[in-house]
């Protein structure tokens, strides 16, 4: 921004130094002419001209020096940006290069092969993809309604004196490390699931749907999904609340003026208005849940099988990598297959995060335009 301003300033200065047209035909004879050259940063031979006053030479010298240092400054700063490009290239490059043996050998069929056999050198991603999406799905099904309703509570229903405190509390709790959630899951959620929730599910819904039946081990996709859901709620709720409070007051008051109750205002006016924000926050939550590692690793049971019931154990991409990568590196193809799994996770995360980012940026842009239009 500052750079832009300054460049404009320079060009204005250069423009001002142009001779008026009447003198122009003769100007190539004049020794103190090339002020334009100064502005472009090139020192010319004419600077040694005898007819030039000391004052002018001094001025020109300092001007050239300043321009040169500005240029160096400009380029030096650009190097800083280069680090980011380099880091991104490293992340993508390492994953691609190290995954290449597996990509080359299995091709696209890697995605839908469900065999994972290090001894026979057959690797496929299907089991882990399904496990990852199971955990993420359970987490989101649990988290989204709660998060959206909490966001409504924070933006519309909580008493004014409470809002600041509880919003901060929620944001702070979002920072509790994943490993603490995992430990909490082992100590508290797993016994709760094993002794109460899962037997209950098996005895009620489980009689009618195999999907809810099972052995009630405590560990499994249900526990992992619930804990990841708890972790994702603050993120989704905070982002949704941020888009809810952006809705112009006029819209809300118009709804009241038409005689709606508070619930009708919220349901028919506010919620439809923040659908892009909700989608954006859910996408961000999806990205967060997808990459969740330690809590899932501790809770999912780590067994490479495709879950058929909500009580089954499973394996996700990230927990597989964290659990077995250090054994896998002794075998190039084994480690390449694991990194290809990581690459899939990386690509999904990047796509998901770009989508969420663009949606939320667009929403913010829309808000700015709206508030300008509304005065």
């Amino acid at each position: 921004m500052a750079a832009h301003e300054h460049e404009q300033g320079d060009s204005l200065l250069a423009h001002g130094d142009h001779r008026p047209p009447a003198v122009a035909p003769l100007s190539f004879l004049a020794p103190d002419l090339p002020d334009n050259d100064e502005a472009q940063g090139s020192a010319s031979d004419l600077s040694s001209s005898a007819s030039e006053s000391d004052l002018k030479r001094l001025r020109r010298k300092s001007h050239v020096q300043v321009l040169r240092s500005e240029r160096i400054f400009h380029l030096t700063l650009r190097l800083g940006g280069l680090f980011i490009l380099l880091l991104f290239a490293t992340v993508l490059g390492v994953s691609l290069v190290e995954a290449w043996p597996s990509i080359e050998k299995f091709g696209w069929s890697f995605l839908w092969t469900s065999t994972w056999n290090p001894h026979r050198h057959i690797f496929g991603a299907w089991t882990y993809l399904v496990g990852t999406f199971w955990v993420t799905g359970i987490a989101l099904v649990f988290a989204i309604p709660i998060a959206i309703l909490s966001a409504l509570f924070l933006s519309d229903y909580a008493p004014k004196w409470l809002v600041g405190g509880v919003s901060t509390l929620m944001e702070m709790l979002a920072g509790i490390p994943s490993i603490v959630f995992g430990a909490f899951g082992i100590i508290f959620v797993v016994p709760l699931m094993r002794d109460h929730v899962e037997p209950y599910l098996a005895n009620t819904l489980g009689h009618h749907f195999d999907f809810f039946a099972g052995d009630s081990m405590g560990y499994g996709i249900l526990s992992a999904g619930l804990v990841v859901g708890i972790m994702v709620i603050p993120l989704v709720a905070t982002v949704t609340r941020d888009s809810l409070v952006m809705i112009p007051r006029e819209t809300v008051e118009a709804a009241y003026a038409l005689g709606s109750t508070k619930a009708e205002m919220v349901y028919f006016v506010k919620l439809p208005a923040v659908v892009p924000g909700i989608i954006g926050s859910v996408i961000l939550g999806f990205g967060r849940a997808l990459g969740e590692t330690m809590a899932v690793l501790l809770l999912i049971g780590n067994q490479a099988s495709v879950p058929s019931s909500i009580q089954d154990v499973g394996y996700t991409i990230s927990s597989l990598l964290a659990n077995t990568f250090t054994y896998a590196v002794i075998d190039p193809l084994f480690s390449a297959a694991e990194i290809e799994l990581g690459l899939i996770l990386l690509v999904i995360s990047l796509v998901v995060n770009t989508l969420g980012r663009e949606l939320l940026l667009k929403l913010m842009g829309g808000r700015l335009a709206g508030s300008v239009g509304g005065g």
Binding site: A2, G80, I84, E98, T168, L173, V180, K262, A322, N353
Partner: protein, 300 residues
Amino acid sequence: MAEERLPEKGLSLYRQSRNLILGGLTGLAFLVAVTPLLAIIYIAYDRGKDALSLSFITSMPSGFPVGIEGGILNGIAGSLILIVLASLLSVPVGVWAGLYLWDQGHTRLAGVTRLLSDLLLGVPSVIWGVVGFYVFSTNTGWGFHWGFSGLAAGLTLGFIMIPIVTRVTEQALRDVPRSYIEGALALGATRFQVMRDLAIPAAITGIGTGILLGVLNVLGQTAPLVFTNYYNTGIPHSLVGSNGSVGDLAMQIFIYIHEPSKALHVKAMAAALVLTVIVLLLDMGIRLLSWGSRKYARKV
């Protein structure tokens, strides 16, 4: 607000009850959202209180299996080492990149850089672990061949911190009023002088907040350490090579909770409480800092 005084008389019972139900649901959902988060802190305290004492944070783990007696000093020291190493890499690089995005943010290259920096924020931590493993730890192929070591883990955490520091630095610099910068430029200051004497001093609290935010983010990172450092029950003399691993609070919790031992689980919950308290205190500090700087900015 006006809506609190709305006359509810004359509404049909259906509309009245609908109104109440949605209000009740939101409150209930909020409780469901916050209760587990608070329960985590309570349960960590409840299950870990037998191990909690001052000596828990000032003594090294001992006994068999290691950790069944003693404390978590190795983890605290290791986490500190890792944070210092991560900051040494990410603060200069992140601030530098943030300055670039602030100064030349309108260019296309800067737009790409900003997008990539934001995307790096979303890279899963296992991927950072894999990248750190191949860049720093592995003993075959290319890379630094540092083994499972504190330096490898610290710099990997530094990678994670860079985009955070970059983004917050850029934001803090953008919050410096334009009029200041234009005034300085009009007085003939060079852009370097504007940056050194005006923008950075004005944004220094914001930049500090960004650095602390980065530290907060890597403090609880466990997955990258599994790939680059693992764990050490002591404090190493060197940060590189086969004996260069450091302890770490998060790894300590992970290892203790993975053991089939009730006593170690108690230690794990106590360590989890310590880690959570550190994280929450740091978070609170960041909030106070940014609140203070906003108040200061408003006064100016």
